[in-house]
């Protein structure tokens, strides 16, 4: 199987201002045409829906906004197409969370493995940097799942990600509610936590420590 082509600088063919892509609701797998490319695309979305984030396995890479798009593209070689009559390649676009996120290569492997296992591979995996990932893309369902998992979901991005605009006062960070007991009486223990994307907090009501997914 050819190795996926991973380029950090491939741009989406569409406008870079793409918002979070959801699986196309109207395109569903058509059992009468199991080998059509439309079926392959719809199936790929279904399969990738089940690919979890390697570090926070309760949420999928789509729910976190890491999976940007699944699309059909011109094949670069015959290997990339499964349909000789209508040759197209499956292209999966992912974006990193933090620049140094060590999970990216794992995510690319997981995507490739999931598609191959479903008979949809090989897929071309493209990494894009723009638009830059933001915690605003995390879906409401994923926020609820994070909370149940014990991680406080990210708040709105405040001025604290715009360092040039605050000079004297560091912004008063609104503390997240405790994911265990719901109390708003929480305190930050450390701005950097167990992974690049989390901070460590403690609840003053139930005394439990918890992770907070930092706004990014």
């Amino acid at each position: 199987m050819p190795k996926p082509i991973v380029s950090p600088f491939a741009w989406p063919a569409s406008s870079p201002e793409v918002s979070l892509k959801a699986p196309p609701a109207v395109v569903t797998a058509d059992a009468s045409e199991p080998n059509s490319n439309a079926t392959r695309l719809a199936r790929a979305w279904e399969v990738l829906e089940a690919v979890p984030d390697p570090e926070i396995p309760v949420v999928s890479i789509r729910e976190l906004g890491i999976l940007r798009e699944v699309r059909l593209a011109a094949p670069r070689s015959a290997d990339e197409s499964v349909n000789a009559a209508d040759p197209v390649a499956l292209e999966v676009v992912i974006t990193p969370t933090y620049s140094g996120c060590p999970a990216m290569s794992q995510i690319a492997e997981d995507v490739e493995r999931a598609l191959s296992a479903a008979g949809l591979g090989p897929a071309r995996i493209v990494t894009t940097l723009t638009p830059a990932w933001t915690t605003d893309w995390i879906t409401p369902e994923a926020r609820a799942k994070l909370r149940r998992y014990g991680i406080a979901p990210p708040g709105a991005r405040a001025a604290d990600t715009q360092p040039v605009q605050f000079i004297r006062a560091r912004p008063a960070l609104t503390p997240p509610n405790c994911p265990h007991c719901g109390s708003a009486d929480t305190e930050r223990l450390a701005q950097f936590g167990s992974t690049a994307c989390k901070a460590l907090y403690r609840c003053r009501a139930c005394r439990e420590p918890f992770d907070y997914f930092k706004p990014y």
Binding site: P8, F9, W11, P96, Y98, S99, G100, C101, P102, L129, T130, P131, A132, W133, D160, T161, Q162, P163, V164, I167, R168, R170, L189, A190, Q191, F192, G193, S194, A196, L200, K214, Y216
Partner: protein, 265 residues
């Protein structure tokens, strides 16, 4: 033109890599667990930024030369004179000593350096978001968010140390007195930065000095520290001429790759 573009991206990348490598020395040795984790995360961000920038540099150089370079060629296979990071980023975590003498790491030096550098990068990344190189702008859009956490971290600790005990104040002031003269290099004019500014690729350091002072001064005041004179001596790391500490840092960074060329894991 393209040569200047490449050289500029390498400057950005080298700063991120060398400071990331330096700060990673705290991994497993932090003064408290939370700071150990913070410095390790911060290094991970910096090395991540360096990887994106080296990958961009490789694309530029490959287009110029037809070679097939990757990020690893820049990090592991260049020699000291080919690295163009600011001298500030390569200094050890302790103050001035004679020759190759060593001392225990001093957290005040670590914090002051991170503060001075993150304040500069807040301005640089902000300008680079408008770079005529769309790929560099994309890297800037990510890095600026990470950098803001680094800046907050350093600001909080600078205030805690400077406005803390008599001992912590004295050490923070000593670190600032020692490191501030190295920031002359941030703002020293040179032909490369003039060139990239003309092409709309990025800012001239010299044009950022007032904004940078406006950014660092309030925190230094809050930390009850005094901004020392920097004098006129300007270090030359960005021209490839480094301090005596650089070779040791590179030896540690590159030794495994050079003992096992082509190894993969």
């Amino acid at each position: 033109m393209m040569q200047q573009h490449l050289a500029y991206v390498l400057r950005l990348a080298d700063n991120a890599l060398i400071l990331g490598q330096r700060n990673s020395e705290w991994c497993g040795h932090g003064p408290v667990l939370e700071e150990d984790i913070a410095l390790t995360n911060l290094s991970l961000d910096l090395i991540g930024q360096a990887r994106l920038l080296y990958t961009r540099a490789a694309a530029l150089e490959n287009a110029l030369t037809g070679l097939n370079l990757s990020e690893n060629d820049y990090a592991y296979w260049r020699s000291e004179r080919q690295f163009t990071n600011y001298t500030l980023t390569e200094l050890p975590h302790y103050g001035p000593l004679a020759g190759t003498a060593h001392a225990d790491k001093d957290y005040a030096v670590t914090i002051v350096r991170n503060f001075l550098y993150a304040a500069l990068m807040a301005l640089v990344w902000s300008r680079l978001e408008q770079s005529s190189d769309a790929e560099l702008a994309a890297i800037a859009a990510k890095s600026i968010k990470e950098n803001s956490y680094h800046l907050h971290h350093a600001q909080e600790w600078l205030v805690r140390l400077g406005d803390g005990t008599e001992l912590s104040h004295r050490r923070a002031q000593a670190a600032l007195d020692y490191l501030l003269p190295y920031t002359n290099e941030f703002f020293s004019p040179d032909a490369l930065e003039d060139g990239i500014a003309l092409q709309g690729l990025g800012p001239r350091g010299a044009d950022l000095k007032q904004d940078w002072l406006d950014l660092v001064t309030p925190t230094i005041d809050e930390a009850t520290l005094a901004l020392p004179q920097t004098g006129i001596y300007t270090t030359t790391g960005k021209l490839g001429i480094h301090s005596e500490h650089m070779g040791y840092l590179l030896a540690e960074l590159q030794s495994v790759a050079r003992q096992h060329p082509g190894a993969s894991w």
